[in-house]
Symmetry: C2
Subunit: 483 residues, 2 copies
Amino acid sequence: MALCIWCKCVACYFLIGLQFIRIFSLLKSRPVYLLPALDGDMKTMTFLQEVVDILLAYITESFDRETKVIDFHYPNELLQRNNWELQDEPETLDDILISCRATLKYAIKTAHPRYFNQLSTGLDMVGLAADWLTSTANTNMFTYEVAPVFVLLEYVTLKKMREIIGWEDGRGDGIFSPGGAISNMYAMLLARFKMFPEVKEKGMSSVPRLAAFTSEHSHFSIKKGAAALGIGTESVICIKADESGKMIPADLERKILEGFVPFFVSATAGTTVYGAFDPLIAISDICKKYQVWFHVDGAWGGSLIMSRMHKWKLDGVERANSVTWNPHKMMAVPLQCSALLVREEGLMQNCNQMHACYLFQQDKHYDLSYDTGDKALQCGRHVDIFKLWLMWRAKGTIGFEAQIDKCLELSEYLYNKIKDREGYEMVAPVIKARMMEYGTTMVSYQPQGDKVNFFRMVISNPAATFEDIDFLIEEIERLGQDL
Amino acid sequence: MALCIWCKCVACYFLIGLQFIRIFSLLKSRPVYLLPALDGDMKTMTFLQEVVDILLAYITESFDRETKVIDFHYPNELLQRNNWELQDEPETLDDILISCRATLKYAIKTAHPRYFNQLSTGLDMVGLAADWLTSTANTNMFTYEVAPVFVLLEYVTLKKMREIIGWEDGRGDGIFSPGGAISNMYAMLLARFKMFPEVKEKGMSSVPRLAAFTSEHSHFSIKKGAAALGIGTESVICIKADESGKMIPADLERKILEGFVPFFVSATAGTTVYGAFDPLIAISDICKKYQVWFHVDGAWGGSLIMSRMHKWKLDGVERANSVTWNPHKMMAVPLQCSALLVREEGLMQNCNQMHACYLFQQDKHYDLSYDTGDKALQCGRHVDIFKLWLMWRAKGTIGFEAQIDKCLELSEYLYNKIKDREGYEMVAPVIKARMMEYGTTMVSYQPQGDKVNFFRMVISNPAATFEDIDFLIEEIERLGQDL
């Protein structure tokens, strides 16, 4: 590394040669000679630097439109293309590097400007750096004692997010959880506990038959949560959506009056398939009237609140009792980063705490309110905060705003380009299969209700441009030409 | 970087100067010039390399016994020591690097050979490299389509783990979940569904009053899970433990006969405080007799099954219906890495699936059994598999075995050194506070039942040696001398 490539004197050649021999012989050695092994420092630095060089090359390639998004192979084929088996004997460091290269060769380039397949796309460089640091710090969010900085940053960031939602002085509570489905489950758990605190000790047998309400276009995690929490999927009442995918408030009110005890309404801010925003103000009025917990699932669309131009779609979110907001989607924070924000302070702690005395000792010498672990369903909790916090510092609030505005501008551009074209629907699965085989771009498809398959075009990738949208349309038409 | 430090010719000095100016001016620029910005390649590489240099220095320092484990500050003090606030305006790349350095300055050095504070300690270099790669690949475990290699590696690794447990041909099911608490919750959810499949649709109102059983020394996540799932903490019946912390099977049988419908027994393989192993064979006999789901919570001690010398402590685990096993604890895989293994195939899928048609399209062109997302409670799921898989390749099974054997040897050494000493108990919180202020080592303490506070010495750190154990004992005595 530290050798001259310009003067090319004999001494340098000699030193370069020595350097190569050193790296070569190191990489033929076993991982057991890395730290914490005695004198493992240099070997470790060389090994990690080799890995980083592989990663840097992959990053450059991922952003290059000339490379394929995907080098697709069927599962059985991929199993045979490499030796993925686990063995008794150790490998050499060189073998480890080979495995890293093979893994990346067959990985999906989710940072590629033409990757539109999921709600989470793109790769932010500051977010990535933050995630590398998080791995290196390798700690756990349960107590201030083992994660002082990260616990403070979670505190600072959740407060900021609550301020943006519009809760006075950013007051309230919240947590970063492993994904939007778990955040939604937390919300349902809190709503139930708020109405029937005895459920924690006595279970559902102490509670009348409950009903939760959400639109027919809502995310499946609402039903999944109801199944897990012992409420049952039949107690999740689906409310009709209008043709643009928004919940119809009149249908909500009608169904609330129909029978079981209403305890939870989940409005969706940005549905998974249509990207529709339920009318939050009208829904919140109904929730207030019937004293039902008002949750906003903004896993996908919640980030629009960062945009002065688009945040009107979330008008009424400040009335929510809880909000799911996933910065790993439209804000392009690396996976995973999902926040649940809760208006009432102390409720999460009361709902979930179990007072484990080995972890949350009450005689500690610092302010225990920073030991946030006992309000979580998890015991150990991954540090998901640092990447969001560092990206926020890097971009500023206005940077996130610009990123979101650009995504919406691209969507509008796409909409205008295809609104008069026809013939996409019926052949989506075949085109998708070809797309993956050619590897040129990736976009998802699905049916909705009685409609047949259609492409679901997601624009959350900060790397995408107008040209990439043009390319996508042309590619879909090219791949579908003979169908 | 690529400049001569030996020949020191004028040309080199000139080039070195240019290089510094280049890096300096780059780092004064905004993150918006990084990829995907046009011509962002070089800037990105320089920035990421600067971050890596900071991380490499931190790693070297973390393993150095001369450095402090912790630079402790009280929450309010830490809040004031740096500007942690989120602002509207972006920062420069240089500011970002300063934030990275500040974050690491106040972080706990969990890799330090004298960090004994939690069940997860140490930092494995191959695991770290794998986690950096995982962040770079930035994808999601829900479908084969977006994570082909990682989905296959999860398949390969879960199969291997089931083989080691002793299930025929490694058959069964499983998932990597965000921590042992969630793995245990999955087990309880499966047990309930197995006995009463109607609970998924109809909720707990369709089910008789249930009872779960676990030892009084078990992890608090069993109760937390019961509260969340609508079973209620009062339905978790605590079984007496003997003086070494093992569940007493006779007490289990007595309590199973007492009333509510028994559906779940969780035996603990390695309790959190004593490290005790419940007698699995005797417990499994009782579960068989009363047809109750037999779960083994081996979050902490499950890894002993990798050791030919110590795996007898888990005799009977092969009879379990489900097993929690956290490689992020004694196997020192970076956080988080927790597996739930399930003997019955297909049960997880039936229990949790919701058939979200936008994600798990049934007309895909590849084998759908690799789309594992619908058997999870999460929708998006972080890639936790690669670090375990790569470490396994690097060490081989025998490498993990040696690591675990060494931890147990150190425990025995500690036990022998302190068994005849007295006077630790009463002053644990004061010594702990001093320990954190001096920053020389970190170990946890807690009470258990009617016993007063004592230090809970965890040995899972692969960097620890006999000398570190000696240091710890001396340090505890030194810090407690005047008490």
